[in-house]
Symmetry: C2
Subunit: 617 residues, 2 copies
């Protein structure tokens, strides 16, 4: 190698999943796949990771899931309160109302976490590194080809996607032919995820279009440590003034992000119609802020941490995948305004949805057709997001209603949107439509545990040691489906016989998909309505073959302050019982009747691959 200067040196390699782009969507995917032991590679054309700025809001649902909570809660700021300011009679602005920032009643963490994107990415990067996976950077993709060979596409073990790269960050339009470059590389992948942002090279190269339009709303963003007498500087604020609108997002340490509305003339180049960043900087953003906040004052800080200007555009990609071998995710498939704090969350949720499906397919557990549910579920979500964002951005960018301007946006109008979409903005209201993996036939057996939504948080108590546990913590994204079995009262001897038969029936249904022991592919969590004073955990751990820590009861903890009412909160009748199938991403996939375990088989046969012949059901 040492002697071959100035000649082409092309490395070729195979990988199961190649991820292009190491932002939140790409890192979520790489981390999830690495944790599942999938052979994965992630590349990025930026030479370094993000240091400041960019996205910063983590929704309650994102905190709940993904094993991020501990570090997010330690490092991030929490936003509990939202304050609304409007024009006051005496000129300037005044406080109209303070309300809880997260209105969704079932939020386990009733707040948002704010933290700069680099810190959030570091959580994934650190955990990935402990698994031996690093981002390869800077590496610029130059071509991508997907095989047209149907046989190859059907064979999950083939590598039908060919991607070539050159080392370094290269502006593509200046590229000379590939063989002029000293170092380059060709990767053959089973699957590719394009998580390369709003200007996605993957999306453009594969001719996937982005549908939608640009608005005329122009906003500036600035991160700084403020020195102000404004009494809500540590709350999320929506300010409607006669001098424009502003949003405050308090951040880690003493930092704050300000979104400031700009008049067209401030920043748009009259000739080209484009935003002209040479005409405006953070000092101009601060000047605009001061006009909006009058009579409150902001001193000029010693420095600004980050700033930018953007025009809101709302667009969704026409397709999210090519032949179910290349997928795009995150900003590559949806762009919208950042102020509702959706961007990073939507992006991470895209690949969280995709990663477990890829893992199940690559392990040979699920059929490749499972991957179609990615576009089905996430494109519908993206459309809902854009539709919400249109309404929100319009009301937020609109002039406030005053006696002189009765067509303006009233506080009531704005507040209504804020409340109505709280399930959506918190990430908690996401509801996947019926599909292969979302079967709502037996919703009546667990009336309040909505099929297609995430499992409601609920504290149960461990039968063996009365320790209270949050059921969500027993449902990690470890690629396995979970079966929560509401068995009724296991302290009752007659019922126990019934439970014994049920346990055998469940084993019969699952065994074909998991010949090496059921817990390799599934996790069973039995929940009894026996009480802590007399329950015997070993009655159930033996029947279901599970570890003692997985046997739960529906009772309060020893202090009486936590837990209880789980059956009723989920709408399960103790005398009837129910089996809840939870997808690896924490969403309810189906409810099976306690008395009809066959339905469980009918669900799994729809997308899972039988490893041994199915028994006669």
């Amino acid at each position: 190698m040492g002697g071959k200067r100035n000649t082409s040196l092309i490395k070729e390699s195979n990988v199961d999943v190649l991820i292009i782009g190491a932002g939140p969507a790409g890192l979520m995917a790489a981390h999830a796949l690495a944790k599942s032991g999938v052979n994965v590679r992630i590349v990025d054309q930026r030479p370094d990771k993000v240091a400041a700025g960019q996205a910063d809001g983590i929704q309650p649902r994102t905190i709940e899931s993904y094993d991020l909570a501990e570090r997010l809660l330690r490092e991030g700021n929490q936003v509990h309160m939202a304050a609304f300011y409007n024009p006051s009679a005496s000129g300037g602005i005044a406080l109209t109302d303070r309300v809880r920032d997260v209105a969704a009643p079932s939020a386990r963490f009733p707040f948002e976490v704010t933290l700069h994107q680099g810190a959030i990415e570091a959580i994934f990067l650190d955990s990935m590194e402990s698994l031996g996976v690093k981002v390869c950077r800077p590496l610029t993709p130059t071509s991508i080809q997907v095989s047209e060979n149907d046989d190859q596409l059907k064979d999950v073990n083939s590598h039908p996607v060919r991607v070539s790269f050159i080392l370094g960050r290269v502006v593509l339009r200046n590229l000379s032919p590939l063989d002029d470059h000293e170092e380059s590389e060709i990767v053959h992948a089973k699957f590719v995820i394009g998580a390369d942002g709003a200007h996605s090279w993957v999306r453009k190269t594969l001719s996937l279009t982005l549908d939608g339009e640009q608005t005329t709303y122009i906003w500036g963003v600035v991160d700084m440590t403020p020195d102000t007498d404004f009494p809500d500087i540590r709350n999320r604020c929506a300010i409607h003034s006669n001098n424009g609108s502003c949003m405050i997002i308090p951040r880690e340490d003493d930092k704050v992000r300000l979104y400031v509305q700009l008049g067209d003339r401030d920043a748009v180049d009259e000739e080209s119609g484009r935003v002209d960043k040479s005409k405006i900087g953070p000092h101009e953003l601060l000047d605009a802020t001061r006009k909006i906040f009058y009579p409150y004052t902001f001193k000029t800080p010693e420095s600004f941490d980050w700033w930018t200007i953007y025009i809101i555009g709302q667009r969704v990609a026409s397709k999210f995948s090519v032949k179910d071998r290349v997928f795009i995710a995150g900003d590559a498939c949806h762009t919208h305004s950042p102020k509702a704090g959706q961007g990073m969350n939507a992006s991470m949720n895209d690949t969280h949805n995709l990663a477990w499906k890829l893992t199940q397919v690559l392990r040979g557990w699920a059929d490749i057709s499972l991957l179609q549910t990615y576009e089905l579920e996430r494109r519908k979500y993206a459309q809902d997001l854009i539709s919400f964002d249109r309404q929100f951005a319009k009301l937020f960018s609109g002039k406030p209603r005053t006696e002189e301007y009765m067509d303006g946006v009233s506080h009531e109008d704005f507040f209504k949107i804020f409340q109505t979409f709280s399930g959506f903005t918190s990430g908690i209201g996401i509801h996947y439509a019926p599909s292969l993996i979302t079967d709502s036939s037996y919703q009546a057996h667990a009336k309040k545990l909505i099929i297609g939504q995430r499992v409601l948080p609920q504290i149960f108590v461990r039968a063996a040691d009365s320790r209270p546990v949050e059921i969500q913590d027993l449902l990690p994204a470890d690629s396995r489906f979970k079966l929560i079995v509401f068995v009724g009262n296991s302290s009752d001897a007659t019922r126990r016989d019934r439970i014994r038969r049920l346990a055998e029936d469940i084993r019969d249904v699952l065994r074909p998909y998991s010949p090496d022991g059921i817990s390799a592919v599934f996790e069973i969590i039995p929940i009894s309505c026996a009480k802590k004073a007399d329950v015997r955990y070993n009655d159930l751990s033996k029947l279901f073959g599970c570890h003692w820590s997985k046997v739960l009861i529906d009772d309060t903890d020893v202090s009486g302050k936590q837990g209880g009412d789980g059956y009723s909160n989920y709408g399960v009748e103790p005398l009837v019982g129910a089996i809840i199938v939870v997808r690896p991403d924490g969403y309810v996939g189906m409810v099976a009747p306690f008395e009809n375990v066959k339905e469980l088989g009918a669900y799994f046969v729809g997308f899972m691959k039988v490893s041994t012949p199915l028994p006669n059901m």
Copy 2:
């Protein structure tokens, strides 16, 4: 150095605090002092840290304090439930009752954490290492001398204690004269802490006696992963059977510790009267266990993690210090039975009590006489501990009451002791008597915040961002006294004038002790009873010169589920107000009347050193 073989090589060095012994008491001291930036050295004669066995229970109070909670909760097992078994009518044992393991109602963590001693020590060792402090080992002390010179003893900057060491672990009775050893060392210390265990060399060498006696109760202890059908194996259990008593302590992973009562003849050498470890091993302990647990069964495990045998002795050292320059702590000053889970906690609390006092004296903030309160507070506690332990051990080792043996211990007798002492065993009931630093004159101004006890846990809400915070988390052991100022309603303009004057008065009182800015030596936490809907945090942060995150209000959080009633839970009248002085170890030192700030001055003048002339009060 290389050429000088076989000749004496004596290093000499000075240190502020020398700690002998790196068990829980020594490590707590070293860690606390290192965190405070004190020049500290810790030595141990054991070549390695503890790997298994030894103490394993962490009380609720120990979890609350010391910044250990996060890692303890992640790594340890939690004990929520206690189960009691007694002889059943049909032979063998049966469940009598299950109750909460921690009955103290104000416990913030209503459970114990169990984890082997090595893991607990590792928490300190890791944190110390990040501060650049390591245990010097193996190093055996050979002599200790305390100066008799009064002038030197009075001068806090002198090094009146001389300790010599030899490198290695050496059995002292076999020692030849010091100069026969190649490597040795002399340390001159300002202060020495002897935390070298029940057989303390420091204690013996300084002729401090251990008063008390040995009982006739002989117990075995074995740690293992059990395979049993006993349904309470994951609860703390007290088993009284006609074949002896047993206690179960469930532990991390699937491990369990068993304390098993042994008959005298099993283990006592008839000639010497000593426990004969050659006559008994873990298999014999398991056999005794099986007899006690009948009809439940225990399979023989593949291995035992740790085991030992002990005779209960209850003793307290006659003195805890020599000239306030050498202190003994932990097992060096009190020994007792391990079953109530007190040992490690008592030891760590000893040096937690001592470390902040040493820090304040070494920094020149407090007078050296402050150190007398160590023995005053901790010896009284040790005596209470021994008195409790006598009653507990007697009842636990006693035969159960049956129809044939009506003089035996009834479940009611035992349960009563268990409940009565719950404040004590949880560590929460510790109550330091009046002294220089514990002044209960104005208890009536905060009726329920008992002076001399730890600050009751209570959730308040931050005024700036409505985030709920546990007040205990704002009272870290950072060597500073904290002043919690209950100001009343800061939203009321008249009251605000009153608060302004109070803030000035407090500053006048504290300034002499803290000329470089009050927050160098004290932390002020104002708590308003204004509500989150209208409070302005900056009203108070400005007056008291504190960070926005320290201004609290007595209100519920946004979900309405946490916080509120803080004034009433502490017994403070909103219209009156109160100032609570919290010691650096989290105990209430005094309550000062809102209307009489002079009393605050009278408290601090008792032990703190004035850096500038006191203003005229």
